[in-house]
Symmetry: C2
Subunit: 96 residues, 2 copies
């Protein structure tokens, strides 16, 4: 299934940039980074359980939020992109 993951990180907080870097790394095991803090992942239920657990371990739940959208299999008909290249950040190692 496709899961859209949006991560709202307090990047100015201590460790915020590092958390985003770690979240990106986890998500990119299963999909692509389509915007700075938006990831589209294709996972089976077992992979999703593991990924979700990893993300929620990395995040700071007091400061950050994760929002998951379960888009099913007909996902490609549901998305439209406008503007700058969606993959421009995929190869960005986010070394800050």
């Amino acid at each position: 299934m496709m899961v859209l993951i949006s991560y709202d990180v307090a990047v100015t907080s201590t460790g915020g940039a590092r958390r985003l870097r770690r979240i990106a790394k986890e998500c990119q095991n299963y999909g692509q980074r389509v915007q700075y803090s938006v990831f589209e992942c294709v996972v089976d239920p077992g992979q999703w359980a593991r990924l979700k657990h990893s993300l929620e371990t990395i995040m700071d739940a007091e400061l950050d939020s994760l929002r998951y959208y379960y888009l099913g299999k007909n996902y490609r008909n549901r998305v439209e992109h406008v503007g700058a290249n969606p993959s421009r950040d995929v190869d960005d190692p986010l070394i800050i």
Copy 2:
């Protein structure tokens, strides 16, 4: 219909913060700001045509991107939120 709008803005570019503020204002006419640059809007086709046009006029297509997810009517079953309050920014006037 429900449209999830994710705006990847180059906030460090000239006018970036202003563009985000304007995008937020447009989106909040039709829904809520659920994360810093993620909005969930409920629109009919005419409203969506107008909103989409407004957003794409405001954005800088060379620097920013907009990503739309058309989530239909069964939207509420598709979303899950973890962490900080999803509405924490809704009342933020984003006056920078």
